[in-house]
């Protein structure tokens, strides 16, 4: 059957777009690699988070605000369609500052953001709280923590269940899924797009590259930017512990199953997604510094995953000029932005108005003039 869209990449970005397009009645085929491929979507922290986004690019912070506002309805819809509980919660969040320097820098950044964007000045709510004031949000917070920025916009979910729900809902809407089908090359032929795979060629009217780091090689084949690079993050998780009423932080959060997820590092390690003994030790030490009660908690999991980083760290939403009908979608906050990707972004792709609606995020910003 004729396919409207080929999506290359079955991560949270590709699946959110696939779901959005399928919901709009499109015939969609998703191509994905083998089970052991690089997948940021299976290794992230699960935050739906506004704080810290768009430093230097306020439009990104605004987009994140839009996304977290769309999240509750998005989560409810996915849950209703699939029965998968995303364990989504938006009760605010705290980005911790271990020392005074960090606290200074953070507040300065947020203030600058609000000076340049009137919308953020109005809508981005946050407050710096000292350690003692934070105790109400984070019972048992250690004494060697300076404080943190609190914001009501932030929340968290189980990113793995988000991925599962996107798969289940997409399959339910008739999306065709080809796992273990790595795309070797993509091309435009006779006005249509062809993906070459070990299982043969697969065609569609239009194509979305949502291949995470795979965009490095695939995107340039269609005149799109392949400028993404890996940035490793390591995360450790404890055994299940009694649930405590507390807010999530990017440094540590208790998941719905009770385990504490502790993250995450930023390391340039090429394509090595491994874990290192030093980092795991350091994360454990940080966790105990934040919550001394975790000293007796057992470590049950540790992993590394590669962030999909654009040169400036902001999302890349790009429509090909050379090959109209080809798009490239990359970002390093695919969980936060999922609600937006399935909604407004999928709509903009469908209506082919990506560059008009989201000009700030096009790949042109990376083209160095000759």
């Amino acid at each position: 059957m004729r396919q409207d869209f080929l999506i290359v990449g079955g991560g949270v970005v590709g699946m959110a777009v696939a779901y959005g397009l399928a919901r709009a009645g499109q015939r969609v085929t998703v191509l994905d690699e083998r089970d052991d491929a690089l997948r940021a979507s299976r290794g992230n922290a699960g935050l739906t988070w506004v704080q810290g986004k768009g430093i230097g690019m306020p439009r990104y912070a605004e987009l994140s605000l839009d996304a977290v506002q769309a999240w509750p309805a998005f989560a409810e819809e996915l849950q209703a369609r699939t029965g998968v509980d995303l364990q989504y919660e938006r009760r605010g969040g705290v980005d911790l500052c271990l020392d005074a320097d960090e606290a200074e820098t953070r507040q300065a950044e947020y203030r600058t953001l609000q000076t340049v964007s009137p919308r953020l000045a109005r809508e981005f709510e946050w407050q710096y709280l000292h350690r003692d004031e934070l105790l109400e949000h984070l019972p048992g917070l250690g004494e060697r923590v300076h404080g943190g920025t609190w914001s009501p916009h932030d929340g968290h979910c189980n990113p793995l269940y988000l991925l599962r729900a996107l798969y289940a809902a997409s399959l339910d809407l008739g999306v065709t899924l080809h796992p273990a089908t790595p795309v070797q090359s993509v091309a435009r032929r006779a006005g249509r797009f062809v993906a070459t795979t070990p299982r043969g060629d697969i065609e569609a009217e239009r194509i979305v590259i949502a291949a995470g780091l795979g965009a490095q090689t695939l995107a340039p084949m269609l005149g799109l930017s392949g400028a993404v690079r890996p940035l490793r993050g390591q995360i450790i998780v404890t055994e299940r512990l009694p649930l405590i009423d507390q807010l999530p932080t990017p440094q540590i959060r208790q998941t719905a199953s009770g385990g504490y997820l502790i993250g995450d590092t930023h390391e340039d390690a090429g394509f090595d997604k491994g874990v290192t003994l030093n980092m795991v030790n350091a994360l454990a030490a940080k966790a105990v510094r934040i919550f001394p009660r975790l000293s007796q908690a057992r470590l049950v999991r540790a992993w590394g995953a590669l962030r999909v980083m654009t040169p400036d760290g902001n999302p890349l939403y790009e429509a090909s000029k050379a090959c109209p009908g080809a798009y490239n979608i990359n970002c390093h906050s695919g969980i936060t932005l999922a609600a937006f990707h399935a909604g407004d972004l999928a709509r903009a792709i469908l209506d082919d108005c990506l560059s008009q609606d989201f000009p700030q995020f096009s790949g042109e910003r990376f083209h160095v003039p000759a």
Binding site: E239, R240, P242, Q296
Partner: protein, 98 residues
């Protein structure tokens, strides 16, 4: 419950430990899990996070169903900790969420 065989060699010394506050004497060659199986058996050993009752399955460190509190430290693998004189052992029969 498990009992010491009448054919046992008399080469083990006994140590005193407390299981749920009650002093018992067991051979010093046992693991904490084995000692609890001797004293109380498998029933009431532990409650899982889903509420189901659990007890040691493998006794060699692979299943993690022997979790127990040893000297105040919760969720130790009972089958990998040898008993020691004066050790305080608490079964997690009420679960860890109490």
């Amino acid at each position: 419950m498990f009992r010491r065989s009448p054919h046992a060699c008399q080469t083990a010394s006994q140590v005193q430990i407390r299981v749920d506050g009650i002093a018992v004497s067991v051979p010093d060659t046992l693991s904490v899990a084995a000692a609890v199986l001797q004293v109380h058996g498998w029933q009431g050993y532990r409650r899982h996070h889903d509420g189901s009752p659990r007890a040691p399955l493998c006794l060699m460190g692979s299943c993690h169903d022997c979790l127990i509190t040893v000297d105040g430290q919760p969720n130790r693998q009972g089958c990998l900790v040898p008993v020691a004189e004066g050790m305080q052992v608490e079964r997690q029969g009420g679960g860890r969420h109490d």
